[in-house]
């Protein structure tokens, strides 16, 4: 029974997307509500399926589905171990949240938004579930194609330029990935992850081929020095699209890096220094890059690079504690970052700009939004009792246990730099008064006209738009996700247990291979 469940997260969104596009054809003016309903319903259904799979995986079962009923070794295999199921739950949750946010920002008025988001999510679910490298390539492409359209569809000059950069970089990475798969097939004669277990430890050509695949995935995960496409493109698109991308695309890259290194290299300790160097560089370069940015979303997207370094650090330690901390970090980070990007998106939609120099005084005007930002920013930094603290504490202790004192120091140091960056945004947007005078006419992107700022009774000025306060629908998704960060910090035990189980599954390559290849 649970074997059939495995195929639902892939098939259901694809079918729904196809039907939505067909049924709304020729009626561009129809209301977005039915599509919204279908999108939310399907994503909620996938969330339920993912929760069922996760509880099953935590009980020790490892459901395996061979598509088409072909025997092992020939069939394409889908498998849900704890790591995959956990990622599936988070992804489904994030898709649901970003669909809700897109409804609030009005981005889903475009009749292709919901279908494209569904296709994208189905590609992500497939990539998380598959145990076949070529199938992983196909699912990554299924995920990327709608992302190309989402990034550029509602064009403006800047989105087009960003879209070109995004498409070409990802196409190059996909080409390299396919070359890696071909090389691996040439050396090992199979692309089934179960049969490929530990292949890179035994043969040097297979190790090179696996490294080519890892390189392609490092581009998709935006690991330094292959990161520079991410901050330039993510901040150029619509706010809800950024939220969707942040939680899904790079995380598939990170997932694939962890899975491939765990299975193909069997956690080979000879190459860990390379991963460690990349992880530390990614953490430091990402956080320093954010210092120079002057608008909310560019700051946050640069921090994404830095946070990817944290997850990679857990992989580079390759101990039970390190991997568990990385998985915990990944799960809570997806939610926290989405909350932050939703705050930035809500500010941009409501006030017409994300520019730090032009915003101010939102603390008084949007207390709910300020609360959501404060909580999720502190969670990102890692202040107790929020979820980021548990994750970073886990990473630091795992690094110290391995005598990697430099890594532990970087974990703490980069957190401090993150704090200064978040404080910069907090001060500029929420805490300090709005700048004197209306400088809105500087930027060509500034859509919302603004009245001159009147002084309020404390002598400070506030940003006064034509619009009044933001609608609750814009702030609610961010608040809910920020609330989850508090819950995961105070009541971390269930997720910690699940993350530890996921790490055990990653360390035990033989069990994974046996489950995938069992007749």
């Amino acid at each position: 029974m649970s074997d059939i469940l495995l195929v639902l997260p892939v098939v259901a969104p694809l079918t729904a997307a196809g039907l939505l596009i067909l049924l709304r054809r020729g009626r561009p003016e129809s209301s977005p509500t039915p599509a919204r309903g279908v999108g939310w319903g399907v994503s909620a259904g996938v969330l339920v399926v993912a929760c069922v799979l996760l509880t099953g995986a935590l009980d020790g079962s490892r459901p395996v589905l061979r598509l088409g009923g072909w025997p092992a070794g020939i069939a394409i295999t889908l498998v849900a171990d704890v790591f995959s199921a956990l990622m599936l739950v988070v992804t489904a949750l994030l898709v649901l949240a970003s669909l809700a946010f897109a409804a609030a920002t009005g981005e889903d008025d475009d009749r292709f938004f919901v279908p494209l988001a569904l296709i994208l999510s189905s590609g992500v679910y497939g990539a998380l579930l598959t145990a076949d490298l070529f199938n992983l390539f196909v699912f990554v492409e299924v995920m990327l194609l709608p992302s190309y359209v989402l990034l550029t569809a509602a064009g403006g000059g800047r989105r087009l330029a960003a879209g070109r950069l995004y498409v070409t970089v990802n196409l190059l990475a996909s080409t390299v990935f396919l070359a890696g798969v071909g090389l691996l097939y040439g050396t090992a004669g199979t692309v089934n992850l179960g049969e490929l277990a530990a292949v890179a430890t035994a043969s040097a050509p297979a190790a090179v081929a696996s490294a080519v695949i890892m390189l392609a995935m490092a581009v998709k995960a935006a690991v330094v020095p292959l990161h520079s496409w991410l901050p330039t493109t993510y901040s150029a698109t619509g706010p809800a699209v950024t939220v969707l991308f942040s939680g899904l695309l790079t995380k598939v890259g990170v997932y694939a890096l962890i899975r491939i290194y765990a299975v193909l290299f069997d956690g080979d300790r000879r190459y860990l220094w390379l991963l460690m160097t990349a992880a530390l560089l990614t953490m430091v370069v990402g956080v320093l890059g954010a210092v120079g940015e002057r608008a909310m979303r560019p700051v946050l997207t640069f921090h994404m690079v830095s946070q990817i370094g944290y997850m990679l650090l857990g992989l580079a330690l390759f101990t039970g504690a390190g991997l568990a901390a990385a998985v915990f970090f990944l799960v809570q980070y997806v939610l926290v970052k989405a909350a932050l990007l939703m705050v930035a998106g809500a500010v941009e939609v409501g006030y017409g700009t994300g520019d730090l120099a032009r915003l101010g005084g939102l603390m008084r005007r949007e207390p709910a939004l300020a609360l959501a930002f404060a909580v999720s920013a502190l969670a990102l930094v890692g202040i107790p009792p929020l979820s980021g603290f548990v994750a970073k504490l886990g990473l630091a202790t795992a690094a110290v246990a391995e005598q990697r004192y430099l890594a532990a120091a970087v974990v703490v140091g980069v957190s401090l730099l993150t704090l200064t960056s978040m404080l910069k945004v907090w001060n500029a947007v929420f805490w300090q008064a709005a700048p004197e005078g209306n400088r809105a006419d500087e930027g060509p992107h500034d859509a919302a006209p603004r009245a001159p700022s009147p002084h309020d009774d404390t002598g400070r000025t506030t940003v006064t738009g034509v619009r009044t306060r933001l609608r609750p629908a814009l702030t609610a998704p961010a608040l809910l996700l920020a609330g989850l960060a508090v819950v995961l910090g105070l009541w971390a035990e269930p997720l910690l247990t699940a993350a530890a189980a996921a790490a055990d599954g990653l360390l035990d390559t033989e069990a994974y291979a046996a489950a995938v290849t069992a007749p």
Binding site: Y148, L160, T168, T232, G352, D355, H445
Partner: protein, 113 residues
């Protein structure tokens, strides 16, 4: 050997074109790179075995490996789709191919339109 030379030439041409500034040339470069990888994947199945890969017809020892061919078919379809989309992007940008730098510090307004 032929396959290796073909892949090498295709990759060289592809890399040269991808590094050009004009987007149409970049697209052509990706077409070449895609072909190079397709030949590579086909070569991974063994270039000397070319018999029919059907059970009961022909000797299994000389039968071609059908799996890389299936891979390549899938990859061709995907590359074709992305190539067309890239060409559409080039067309949408019009004469803008020279000005494709994005400033990360640009006002990050995406707006909900």
């Amino acid at each position: 050997m032929t396959a290796a030379v073909a892949v090498g030439v295709l990759v060289a041409g592809g890399v040269y074109l991808v590094l050009q500034r004009n987007l149409v040339r970049v697209v052509l470069g990706f077409v070449l790179l895609g072909h190079a990888v397709n030949v590579l994947v086909l070569a991974a199945g063994g270039m000397d075995r070319r018999g029919l890969p059907l059970i009961g017809q022909g000797d299994p020892a000389t039968a071609a490996d059908p799996l890389p061919q299936a891979f390549v078919l899938t990859a061709i379809v995907i590359t074709f789709g992305i190539t067309v989309y890239l060409l559409a992007l080039a067309r949408a940008g019009g004469a803008d191919t020279e000005r494709d730098a994005v400033e990360p510090g640009d006002d990050g307004v995406g707006g909900g339109r």
